[in-house]
């Protein structure tokens, strides 16, 4: 499935009932060098738009929101151990967490790539 995007600069890729969530290239670029990541605990139930993770750069702290509702199935410990991965590969190795979706219809509210590009250009 094509990647979808939230207004909080998270991306989502859904396969079956599982969504992989990360922050966008635009978001990591805005943050600068990432030095700390805190991820949600596996098993936690989260609602769409709920704050679930923290990402901090040398300069700034930022909250990461879950774009969708569900249960956290997996958290990517690799970015906790090496936060710089978030800058290096935001759409790949530096995914944040995986969700078992409780309401896949929520996906319809997210942006496709073209819409997100326009949105990010505006918030620049």
């Amino acid at each position: 499935m094509a990647r979808k995007y939230s207004k909080d600069h998270e991306w989502v890729e859904v396969s079956g009932k599982t969504a992989t969530v990360g922050i966008t290239d635009f978001a990591q670029e805005q943050l600068g060098d990432v030095v700390f990541v805190e991820l949600p605990e596996v098993g936690r139930t989260v609602a769409a738009h709920e704050q679930v993770a923290i990402v901090e750069s040398v300069k700034a702290a930022s909250e990461v929101y879950s774009p969708l509702s569900g249960r956290v199935a997996e958290a990517n410990k690799a970015i906790v151990d090496d936060p710089a991965k978030v800058n290096a590969d935001p759409f790949g190795a530096a995914w944040f967490f995986k969700l078992e979706l409780s309401d896949p219809k929520e996906l319809d509210a997210l942006m496709d790539e073209a819409a997100y590009r326009a949105f990010a250009a505006e918030s620049h």
Binding site: D33, V35, E38, E56, V58, K59, A61, P83, H124
Partner: protein, 374 residues
């Protein structure tokens, strides 16, 4: 990201910042690069390893000119300004009537000043609107303040700064920390000071605005030198344990609380002739109620400006004034003010981050040893 529609000024290096891919942000009324494409971490580490060029043209540069300029300046500053030798620079604090800090600044007596009638001041950009009127209303009628708005200020900082400067200004090798002299840098008439805000050896070069870009390009052409922005400037000064106005210093904080008692020499203490002297001298005698401290942060999560500091019993004992990630130490560090009983080295405290109490401990400043050329 809505931005306020206040007029934002550009420094003479604006075009160069854009060309170098600087990420420009509004800062103290100026548009300045927070970082270049390599990022804050790389810029910070490069400064400690080699040399970086910073645009600090936003800072206030003024001359105080007139008979007994030094004596008049001492009316507002508790330092030894009259004792400055030609070519000497001192760190000083501008105080208000309650002994709070209006600004921190560098005061220099030009090397060619023979009769003590001229001083050169460099102060914080954000305080220009406060400092200049404050000086003007208190200086004697025969002393005037001239804002040097037509000059840029470049800072070349790092262990290889001296080697780079020596190529373009051989006389710079004679300068030691906190001395300055007028000199030609690659044929441009500059005022060069051996000083900086990174904890490293380095120079601050006051240059005519029209020559600033050419000089910056020349310095950046050296293989040792890379550009660095405000982000690295802040992380470097935090590691060096230096105060940032609006954070470690403000109109309520006294020099004694800030750990800057050394700016007030014996002569001035005995004379009791500076603003706020009763509070300041009492604090010297009895100890201040709060003190600036360095904080070592446990774990990896940075503790930021504004975080509450609590004791082991849970009561609030202070507040973080600067905090971030220290690239040289690969760990978070912070500075803040705590009630004096909690300021002893090694004291275990907590900083509140997102509602959670994160363990910190009082540690010696600076976090990274300074390497000034004394």
């Amino acid at each position: 990201m809505a931005e306020a529609h206040t007029p934002v000024r550009r420094t003479p290096l604006y075009a160069l910042h854009c060309e170098l891919g600087g990420k420009l942000v509004p800062f103290a009324g100026y548009e300045l690069p927070v970082q270049y494409p390599t990022g804050i971490l790389a810029e910070h580490l490069h400064t400690r390893a080699a040399a970086s060029l910073f645009d600090v043209s936003h800072m206030g540069q003024v001359e105080v000119i007139g008979e007994e300029a030094a004596r008049w300046l001492e009316v507002m500053l508790p330092g030894d300004i009259q004792g400055l030798q030609p070519g000497q620079t001192r760190y000083a604090l501008l105080l208000n009537e309650v002994g709070g800090t209006i600004d921190d600044l560098l005061v220099s007596r030009p090397a060619d000043d023979r009769d003590g009638s001229k001083l050169f001041l460099v102060f914080n950009a954000a305080r220009k609107a406060v400092d200049v009127p404050y000086l003007k209303t208190r200086l004697g009628p025969a002393v005037r303040v001239e804002l040097l708005d037509d000059r840029a200020l470049l800072a070349l900082q790092g262990p290889q700064a001296a080697a780079v400067m020596a190529r373009h200004a051989p006389d710079s090798a004679r300068l030691t920390f906190l001395t300055q002299a007028p000199m030609s840098v690659a044929g441009i008439a500059c005022r060069v000071s051996r000083s900086g805000y990174t904890g490293e050896d380095g120079f601050e070069i006051s240059v005519p605005a029209g020559d600033a870009e050419g000089l910056a390009r020349l310095l950046l052409a050296a293989p040792e030198v890379k550009p660095a922005g405000l982000g690295a400037r802040d992380s470097l000064r935090l590691e060096a344990g230096l105060c940032l106005y609006g954070h470690e210093l403000d109109e309520t904080i006294s020099p004694i609380e800030a750990g800057l008692a050394w700016v007030i020499p014996t002569r001035r203490r005995a004379a009791r002739d500076f603003p706020g002297h009763s509070r300041i001298l009492r604090q010297i005698e009895e100890g201040p109620p709060r003190k600036r401290v360095g904080l070592k942060v446990e774990g990896r999560q940075p503790v930021r400006d504004g975080a509450e500091i609590t004791s082991e019993s849970g009561s609030v004992v202070g507040r973080v004034t600067s905090g971030g990630f220290a690239p040289s130490l690969n760990a978070p560090i912070a500075m803040g003010y705590v009630a004096s009983p909690f300021a002893k080295l090694g004291t275990k405290l907590f900083a509140t981050v997102r509602g959670k109490a994160q363990p910190v401990s009082v540690t010696r400043l600076p976090f990274v040893p300074t390497r000034y050329h004394k």
